[in-house]
Assembly symmetry: C2
Homo-oligomer: 229 residues x 2
DNA sequence: TTTACATAGTGTTGTTTTTACACTTTCATG
DNA sequence: CATGAAAGTGTAAAAACAACACTATGTAAA
């Protein structure tokens, strides 16, 4: 107890909405709180920001500590500041959303988290604090971004089939898409490189594998190109 | 000096990028700092967040105090957290952007601000702190939003002509638009109500005045309607 | 009072984009 | 070698977009 200021200060936290996609469903990573308040309840991973780190750094650190997740797409979402959002004291939280592939990372409970689990976005349990609100905001943002920026690839493995991509879009946006039109459009940009590999699975024709070409995307973006699906 | 915490805490500020449009040009409201650091330099209006107010409240309060602006469109932009963005100590700033009509409000210098002035966005002076960065982010956001949400009306008087609207779009987006196509599209949504009034000015044909219909917009939005210009 | 000037206002056509729609291919399995 | 299951492919009609130039209506100056 040795840090003293002239005026009272709010505490600062980061909270992360981590999305994953498992070939059929969009999921979110939640942790079971191991400490009060809301001990035993599900919550978004997150924690206090240290005074010598940026918010991005804090978000990555917390994700690593609480879930073992590393190297994922991470973007700031919104800063939540209701005066009573934390029962302990004034806490302002900067929310992030992250995209990853659940398969890549075995989740692991650590530090403050009693457990960490993936939940389908349609079956989220009651959440601590105002995390239900943060989650809703993140889902809305993800839906918006997916239409206008090529971030869907962050939810897929580096090599993927067009069917997987389409399923992802259908799952996130909650709509059905026409297979032929979807392929025509997504291929028309020339941002997907066909690989010399196919994905064989089950008793049916194997699918061509593609990878996203981020270099070409950057070039096009410079020229005012707008991704849209 | 009586507020003591177990861990060091960053100070929290809000900074506002206030856009205005004066019939030809997009402008930003800047204040001349009356106190150190960066005394005498131009900066975005803003200040410290009090522990008992939300960020939105803080932003509105600071705008009122420093520029006299009230009741304007205000939206959170991004939270900036570089460790060294303030030479005094660790300060994290939540940036907002606001839209208003410069004509409506005589700006007034008050409190911490030695002066407050509108600057065309193409002629912004050197700014204090990382405010140039915040400003660039805000301008980018404004351009993005203008295309996909009907926020342009916030920069115009309640009654406006289609020419004014088009000039606004051209000024903000930095492009030329075809008069006939622009009118066709903007009127096709049925969101502009023609008034029983014309705008007469100069030696030429007077222009029909319109107002934006926010109620109808909300209804359409429910049904999945997407505004786009 | 007439003329010049400035901005408001208006339709059509060719091009591009979007949508709707059904059958063939290729593999694994029984 | 027949069956099932997903992959892959083209066309035509409809809608949206882009390009384009003249008339209408007011004020002010000659």
């Amino acid at each position: 107890m040795k840090h003293t200021y002239e005026y009272p200060r709010a505490a600062l936290t980061v909270d992360c909405v981590v999305f994953g996609f498992d070939d059929t469903e969009l999921k979110v990573l939640l942790i079971e709180r191991g400490i009060a308040p809301f001990k035993g309840q599900w919550a978004l991973p997150g924690g206090f920001v240290r005074v010598d780190e940026t918010l991005d750094e804090a978000a990555r650190r917390e994700l690593m500590e609480e879930t073992g997740l590393k190297k994922l797409f991470l973007e700031q979402l919104y800063t939540f500041s209701s005066v009573d959002r934390d029962p302990r004291e004034r806490v302002i939280s900067v929310a992030y959303y992250a995209l990853t592939k659940p398969a890549d990372h075995r989740t692991q409970a650590t530090t403050d988290a009693a457990d960490a689990r993936w939940f389908p976005v349609r079956q989220i349990p009651a959440l601590a604090f105002d995390h239900a609100n943060i989650f809703a905001t993140a889902l809305q943002r993800l839906r918006g971004k997916l239409r206008y920026e090529p971030i869907g690839f962050e939810l897929l493995p580096p090599k993927f089939t067009l069917s997987q991509l389409q399923q992802l879009y259908e799952a996130v946006l909650g709509t059905d898409l026409d297979k032929r039109n979807f392929r025509k459009k997504v291929l028309s940009y020339g941002l997907l490189l066909p690989l010399d590999e196919t994905h064989r699975e089950g008793a049916h024709r194997p699918a061509q594998l593609f990878r996203f070409d981020p270099v070409r995307y950057e070039k096009l973006k410079q020229k005012g190109f707008l991704f849209e699906l």
